[in-house]
Symmetry: C2
Subunit: 305 residues, 2 copies
């Protein structure tokens, strides 16, 4: 796809807070599927930029997902792939990207009516997956991750033109106030922080570990927090969360004895596929982070149990 107007200029000489150009909710407020969102849930997403559904999946389902994650981490065919990321100090698996491409179970999960019907309602179109990820923040030593908007990177480095993207994620372990949970700034998805600093080549090799470009200054963060406060995304394992692509979020380190394991799918509208030349980097990120196949996901009725 060719790039049009850049609605969200970023990675320039100076930082600015811009207003969001896109709607937040592209679809209908009204329930269109038995698995869709109620009007008050859509309103809450519109206003706050996220939705949390505690206990959405049963413990037995979560066990299946966890076991499948561990299986993938050990699978011979995964060992040399760039989708599998290990801890710097050892052999332990830290992340697996695009779990839905290597696992029938995760493929089915990614298209589960219970998730996908909500996603397509918010996006107002069919969706495809920009990328997926399962991530461990290990007990005792998991590191903090700085404040950022995902969409800022996806626009700058991947070429998603519009902010019409939502991340759906499942807590595979409890996310609590002690194990390095996601902190969200409610309503921050309505601002776009145009970040200072030219993107280096192959920035993704560093940014997946510790983001340095696309991070707002402490003064800007303070302004956003003064408007919004901070909310922690907490819940028991099995909790489903949606957060709008542009919501500002970060997470502290994990000094607790509980690992934090989350499974994510980044759902983008099929009308918002990546353009060839990204808006804030010389070259787009590789295919495993920036899927160029925008074929719509076909929803499935799953019975995992």
């Amino acid at each position: 796809m060719q790039a049009g107007l850049d609605l969200y200029p970023t990675r320039g000489a100076s930082e600015q807070i811009l207003e969001r150009s896109d709607r937040v909710v592209f679809g209908s407020r009204e329930l269109e599927s038995p698995y869709g969102l109620q009007p008050n849930q859509v309103d809450s997403y519109e206003k706050n930029g996220f939705l949390i559904f505690p206990d959405f999946f049963a413990p037995q389902e979560v066990d299946l997902f966890l076991n499948e994650f561990y299986r993938l981490g050990r699978a011979p065919e995964m060992q040399e792939r760039e989708e599998l990321i290990r801890e710097p100090d050892g052999n332990v698996v830290r992340s697996i990207f695009n779990q839905h491409k290597f696992s029938d179970l995760f493929d089915r999960l990614s298209r589960d009516h219970r998730i996908l019907d909500k996603v397509t309602q918010l996006l107002g179109s069919p969706a495809y997956i920009h990328h997926g990820r399962i991530n461990i923040k290990p007990a005792n030593k998991g590191k903090s991750f700085p404040w950022h908007s995902d969409f800022e990177t996806w626009h700058a480095e991947d070429g998603l033109p519009n902010c019409r993207v939502v991340t759906g994620w499942i807590m595979l372990t409890s996310n609590n106030e002690f194990n390095g949970p996601l902190y969200l700034l409610p309503g921050s998805h309505k601002r776009f922080v145009s970040c200072a600093g030219k993107t280096p080549e192959e920035n993704y090799k560093n940014s997946l570990r510790k983001q340095e470009y696309g991070v707002p200054s402490s003064g800007t963060l303070q302004k956003l927090v003064a408007e919004s406060g901070v909310v922690g995304a907490y819940g028991p394992s099995g909790t489903l969360v949606f957060h709008e692509g542009n919501i500002m979020h970060g997470s502290p380190d994990n000094i607790s004895p509980w690992p934090r394991i989350n499974l994510m799918f980044v759902y983008n509208s099929i009308e918002n596929g990546p353009v060839d030349k990204p808006f804030g980097a010389a070259k787009p990120r590789p295919e495993f982070l920036r899927c160029t196949d925008i074929s719509p996901l076909v929803p499935l009725d799953n019975t995992f149990l």
Copy 2:
């Protein structure tokens, strides 16, 4: 004072979880002063190892304390003293030790009937101050501090023979779930984790920044947490907290835009002054961390307002 039997051997070849040898509460359960603790508060301290009094000091009092802290940080006579600790990356004051020795206001605060009557009730004797400290965990970049028992260090490196010591501290800014608060393991004060590893010389020069000796293994921490869970010490500015010297605690980093500033006094029983040869180090720490003047504090009726 000469050392007797070592009730809490630590810094040896291997880690062990020992039972506490000392009582937790040495004084009376019954209210003996209008500023003392109620029986249920004493029971809660005995069981959990801490007490939290939200809004104990008025905002105007907190302002006085904060301003006095800032004044001390700028005071010419403080600039070259070892009691004043700066951030490694600049000139900003991170801690001031023994604030009560340099400030009439903090001296009066340390002896305030409202605090001291509770302390002497818990200790069952008059008290003196082992050391005092005001500490900033700065916004955006404050670092985590590993799990530890204060008493383990005070016994090993300072020579306090018995666990008959309580820290009273005041939140000078809000301590919330986002700004790197203290996490406590309720009930952990009834165990003593005998930690592995011989104390290096002048360990305090490193341990005040990042403790490495006297830190339990992740396996031990997991055991303690399984017994107790974790509690965050949260409250608005002006909150008063007491925590028993041996309670296990740690704190995560502060990625929030809110600095966390706390003022502490370590109250030790005058019957528990430091022995000459500490129990787990070749030489005791310096006087500014280990007060050898055990003259009892004389309580004061203060009106800061």
